[in-house]
Symmetry: C2
Subunit: 200 residues, 2 copies
């Protein structure tokens, strides 16, 4: 025991947060105990509620506590007949902020990574194939990250789109190669959406 | 709304953590939702329990859920008749790790900072005076941080000690000037404890 049992437990549990080791967990614990008790109780409640209630949208697979997320449930988003495939929910948020896209999304929650055991089923490509088979979409925009894995995943999905006779496009390389989509500024991202290129 | 209501709430609440802005709150939320759900529920529980149950030791003022902390409650620690004054609980832990001190502590939970409205009462010097008046201590080791505020606080407390006829010493400047005690390595800290100098 370094401090009291409860304090040691808190410091230990805080280390599940990415980038937080023993020393910073200690700093965080003291900081909130000294200055943010009420806020930290609110955080405890939203943490527990989020962890137990947030699942995946039944249509686009993004993280949400709803059965169908707000974007998928919006009938105006279906009119475009375009599905934009991204790696994660943060990418949806980044693209939404450009105001350049009014279609729907499909969220892979990752990318193909055979060495880590992440194959097509793990990123929901079976579900994506069903959506393509529905005939509801004319175009698939592949907006995976401009990394090696993101490119490989995009080309893999482009082949599936071809099978279903759906046109596939890749967002333009206005986005910096090797970067991550969610950190790209809005102007660059807008440009890359407008300049998208047909793949097949 | 950027994501779903619960997810937005979680990302908002995570920003009470020191150094966590909107982007890193988002990263943390996705990370734990994707990989650490059970651990995050445990964190939620220990957060709530810590925030509601942890208070201050009635004797030394450190953070603890007990009325009297384990160190103050240990009769062996009273034999030395030495009280070591530190700025925070992390400093207690750092000094304990040196195994060079077997007396008791008094934790200021800060330092004098008149411009921020932190005067003697805010750092418990009234309580410290009571301890000195008890006649239980022969020496007061001033182990506040080797910063301008820490030095000023040490000298202020040395004067109180003098009033009560208790010898006051300052840990030696083996610790780097301008640094913070909790990040000093054990050897340096041991050296600074052994080389402490009388003030009055
Ligand atoms: Zn959805
Ligand atoms: Zn105590």
């Amino acid at each position: 025991m370094k401090f009291s049992p409860l304090l040691d437990q808190l410091i230990n549990d805080l280390q599940i947060l990415p980038g937080v080791g023993p020393k910073s967990a200690q700093r965080i614990a003291f900081h909130i105990l000294e200055r943010k008790r009420d806020d930290a109780v609110s955080l405890a409640h939203s943490l527990e509620e989020a962890m137990t209630k947030i699942g995946h949208c039944q249509q686009c697979n993004t993280l949400t506590e709803l059965d169908i997320c707000a974007i998928c449930a919006n009938p105006k988003r279906q009119v475009e007949r375009i599905l934009c495939v991204v790696e994660g929910p943060a990418d949806v948020a980044a693209i939404e902020q450009t105001n350049q896209f009014s279609g729907q999304y499909f969220v892979l929650m990752g990318h193909l990574s055979p060495l880590d055991g992440i194959g097509p089923d793990e990123i929901g490509l079976d579900k994506l194939a069903e959506l393509l088979a529905s005939g509801d979409y004319e175009e698939l925009i592949l907006a995976t990250n401009p990394t090696v894995e993101g490119e490989a995943t995009a080309y893999y999905i482009a082949e599936i789109a071809q099978e279903y006779g759906v046109k596939a496009s890749r967002i333009a390389h206005g986005v910096p190669v090797g970067g991550e989509l969610e950190y790209v500024d809005g102007a660059t991202l807008s440009h890359s959406l407008l300049g998208r290129q047909l793949i097949n």
